[in-house]
């Protein structure tokens, strides 16, 4: 459909453009590239990696182009005009009256995430060129990375839930392949299995949710929009139409959110994410920090109306999403304190940042949450790549901060700088990007009436600052230790990480040959292929926040303009689908604060509404200062403690956990990750995989299969004729069970065949006599 063909008096035609129209190419390119890499990758000079990088670059170009044109589109619209998403869809397959489409749904949100994904993927692939050089499965690695990007991009611009699901699952598969990249080691493949399986459990929710939404919404959407019940746009409109039965949509929202919990590593399904660090560092930075794990968040943002209505977000007080988000923030932040593995620290921090996003979405702070996706992507990717760079060039592929790092700020200045920038951004220090997103979230959460969770958010900010400081201190300050001190050999690094993070040794032997050289001399700065992405990312980590710098007034809130959908009613001309040709009916704009606005969950009088009316907290420097203070407090305390503990090894602190019982218990609890894994693996999984399955199998073999056996046995005992045949029958197990039964009957009948002539005669006549008698009686 051509979106430019809009005739409307009130309405300025929306600008569009080639890139917007052809945004669907963005995922297609990597998909093709993946196929090529698989087919001819090995024969190429760079083992197929060039294909991956090129495809990602071109996707990035397309995405940026689309972004640019989207901005034009939004600018071309009037202030209160609904900026229609650019939707194209083709029928994919049709069955039983169902029409499964495939197509693109381009609006601010999808553009934003598209750009992020394409950008990070590009950088990470470039980074990997160096980082994985000489790896055994170099080509496979790039193939998987590319496929992942393809899947993620497809999911992001999906116009219906089926395509969305497809991308979602493909990401899951790729994460399985990439985590298990070094599958020779059992731990890695088990981590991969765990990740896939945990996420898969969540996916049940996705399946159920999609089905429910489809059947609940389909009639309405078909009638009003001529869209199938899978179409994201249709679902959103339906959710806000006031039609839906509240319980149905509530269950659907919960079901979908379960999927998000699994994918975005929210409590209680977060346990897979830290283990996923077993994968190569680029994978961790791409999939498990900046892109894939935000898919869950993206789903919530994408189908926001469903959650908005289903979970009654405007109601305030508390709902599933904020609760889960809040819990996640705190517990994972707490976990980050006891990790010695730098990547695990980052992993837990990722989990808690995702918690922030969920918190924001749950509390109606849609824009800040989405914005946090954006900013978080940059600084977290940067941090991971930094960690990778350290292990790559300084600590002989170990990630253990306490053992193999320390004092690296001198040897790796670049890495250090970028790390510091990103850390500050993560902590949300004022001019850095983190501040503008995270602080906004906390602020709006409070503003929308979720005060308790605002406090949780602040606590989280404090903890974040604290554990990041600890990590930074351990890594870059103090005295060089272990490998980074240059006197570490491989045997050492091998047995250092036996229990939980043995991937390190794999970094080692996988890219072994490539690093023999570097083992000779000690820690040093990494090569350009690694540092350049670091620098780019750190620049963005600093600056990206200004895209929506609320403190500096309306004019700076570009994101609000570009990304946030405007919640006005659109009168559809249903005969010519597509909201591009939509009329504005001028309505009083809903006033701030009244959540039951015309586009809230109340039934609008006329027209259709695609986005809920959202509130925005007015920025107050006071609150900002307050949170700043908290952050700095966290940094300071943690700094002091770290110095005392790690450098001065102050006797009052060292072994404190051993001395004070409470702390000891807490420490133990944290080290054991709240025993959640124990619960899952030892209790749940075991109980399914072993007893239940055993029982089922036993049932199969002994009850069902043996039913006839049993019958046969009992009959035999009763008649007691052929107990000796049993063994034969069972041993040469040729005779079917029922045959066994009938056979034993046969044995019971055999004596009639005694071979005695007189008995035969007797039988013959008596039978005849009896028959005659009976029939005579019957017939007279």
């Amino acid at each position: 459909m051509n979106l430019l063909a809009s005739e409307s008096e009130v309405l300025a035609p929306l600008a569009s453009g080639w890139f917007l129209e052809h945004a669907w190419l963005i995922p297609v390119i990597p998909a093709i590239a993946f196929a090529l890499i698989i087919l001819i990758g090995k024969r190429l000079p760079m083992k197929g990696s060039e294909l991956g990088v090129l495809s990602m670059l071109s996707s990035l170009v397309f995405a940026l182009g689309a972004g640019y044109q989207w901005i034009q589109r939004t600018n071309s619209a009037t202030e209160e005009q609904f900026v229609a998403p650019v939707i194209k869809s083709w029928s994919w397959w049709r069955s039983g009256g169902f029409d499964f489409g495939i197509g693109q749904h381009i609006d601010g949100l999808s553009i934003l995430v598209l750009i992020v994904v394409a950008f990070i993927s590009t950088l990470v692939q470039i980074y990997s060129l160096e980082y994985l050089r000489g790896d055994r499965r170099y080509t496979h690695f790039f193939a998987a990375l590319t496929l992942f990007s393809g899947g993620m991009l497809a999911m992001v611009l999906a116009d219906n839930m089926i395509l969305f699901l497809l991308g979602w699952e493909i990401m899951g598969l790729c994460s399985f392949m990439l985590i298990g990249h070094w599958w020779e080691e059992d731990a890695n493949s088990r981590a991969a299995l765990k990740a896939f399986f945990t996420v898969r459990i969540g996916d049940v929710g996705l399946l159920v949710g999609i089905s429910m939404l489809y059947f609940a919404a389909n009639d309405w959407t078909q009638e009003n929009l001529e869209l199938s019940g899978f179409s994201i746009r249709g679902i959103s409109a339906w959710a806000l139409s006031g039609e839906p039965n509240s319980t149905v949509i509530m269950i659907a929202a919960v079901a979908l959110f379960i999927a998000c919990i699994g994918k975005s590593g929210q409590f209680p399904l977060h346990t897979w994410l830290p283990d996923a660090m077993a994968g190569p560092t680029p994978v961790s930075s791409l999939l498990h920090s900046s892109t894939m794990v935000v898919a869950g968040v993206y789903l919530v943002a994408r189908l926001y109306p469903v959650f908005y209505v289903g979970l009654d977000i405007p109601g305030g007080g508390g709902n599933l999403i904020v609760i889960i988000g809040g819990i996640t923030i705190v517990i994972s932040a707490a976990l980050a304190f006891v990790q010695n593995d730098i990547k695990r620290v980052l992993a837990y921090s990722t989990v808690s940042q995702l918690g922030y996003m969920m918190l924001g979405l749950g509390a109606g702070a849609w824009l800040p949450a989405v914005f946090h996706i954006f900013t978080h992507a940059f600084f977290k990717a940067c941090l991971f790549l930094g960690a990778g760079s350290i292990s790559h060039s300084a600590s002989h592929h170990s990630f253990d901060m306490k053992r193999d790092m320390g004092g690296l700020r001198k040897v790796m200045p670049l890495t250090f700088t970028t790390w510091i920038i990103s850390t500050l951004a993560l902590c949300g220090v004022f001019p850095f990007s983190g501040f503008f997103s995270k602080d906004e979230i906390i602020d709006n959460v409070g503003y929308n009436g979720y005060n308790l969770f605002m406090i949780i958010g602040l606590v989280g900010a404090f903890m974040t600052a604290a554990y990041m400081t600890r990590a930074t201190y351990l890594t870059f300050f103090g005295e060089p230790r272990g490998a980074s001190a240059g006197h570490a050999d491989h045997g050492d690094t091998h047995d250092t990480h036996d229990s939980h993070n043995s991937h390190a040794s794999h970094d080692a032997h996988s890219s072994h040959n490539a690093h023999d050289v570097e083992q000779s001399h000690g820690p040093h700065e990494s090569g350009l292929l690694i540092t350049v992405p670091l620098m780019i990312l750190s620049v963005l980590a600093f600056s990206s926040g200004f895209l929506n710098a609320t403190p500096f007034g309306e004019s700076w809130e570009r994101m609000k303009l570009w990304v946030e959908p405007r919640s006005v009613e659109v009168v559809e001309e249903t005969h010519s689908g597509g909201p591009g040709e939509s009329l504005i009916i001028t309505l009083p704009i809903a006033k701030e604060g009244q959540s039951k606005s015309v586009c809230g969950s109340a039934q609008p009088e006329t027209g259709i509404c695609y986005a809920p009316q959202l509130n925005h907290a007015p920025f107050k420097w006071l609150k900002a200062m307050m949170s700043m203070a908290i952050v700095f407090l966290g940094i300071a305390i943690s700094w002091i403690l770290s110095t005392l503990l790690f450098t001065k090894s102050d006797p009052r602190l060292v072994g404190l956990t051993q001395r004070v019982k409470i702390l000891g218990l807490g420490h133990k609890l944290l080290v054991n990750k709240y025993y959640l894994d124990v619960l899952y693996e030892k209790v749940i999984v075991r109980s399914i995989a072993y007893p239940v399955a055993r029982a089922a199998y036993w049932f199969n073999q002994n009850i069902l299969d043996g039913l006839l056996h049993g019958l046969a046995n009992s009959t035999r005992r009763i008649s007691g004729w052929v107990y000796k045949n049993v063994d034969q029958l069972v041993v040469d197990g040729t005779v079917n069970n029922s045959a066994t039964l009938t056979k034993s009957l046969g044995t019971a009948a055999q004596p009639t065949q005694s071979g005695k002539l007189s008995q035969y005669a007797a039988l013959l006549f008596s039978a005849a006599a009896v028959a005659a008698l009976v029939l005579v009686i019957i017939n007279t």
Partner: protein
């Protein structure tokens, strides 16, 4: 009418014959019991023929007598055969095959 007595006689003979077949272990005796049954049949037939005043009964009876003779011939032959091989005519010894 005195038909019933004859029929009764026939029935009694039939029962005797059946008893003989079932109870006797001696092959020759079995043959004889069978002959008794056949004769009971003959008596029946003749009685009925007389009662109904038709000749079919007599004809049937004649046939039976003739055939019975043939049967006995064959039967005794078989018994003789058995006796030659097993030196006994007790049919209970003829239970090689069973089950």
């Amino acid at each position: 009418m005195f038909v019933n007595q004859f029929l009764l006689l026939g029935a009694i003979l039939f029962c005797i014959g059946v008893y003989g077949v079932v109870a006797r272990k001696n092959a020759v005796l079995m043959l004889m019991s069978i002959e008794i049954i056949l004769n009971s049949v003959n008596i029946n037939l003749l009685t009925f023929a007389l009662r109904n005043g038709s000749t079919d009964g007599h004809v049937f009876a004649l046939y039976i007598i003739a055939v019975a003779a043939a049967e006995v011939g064959v039967g005794l032959g078989l018994v003789l055969l058995v006796y030659r091989n097993k030196k006994t005519i007790s049919i209970d010894d003829l239970s090689e095959m069973r089950g």
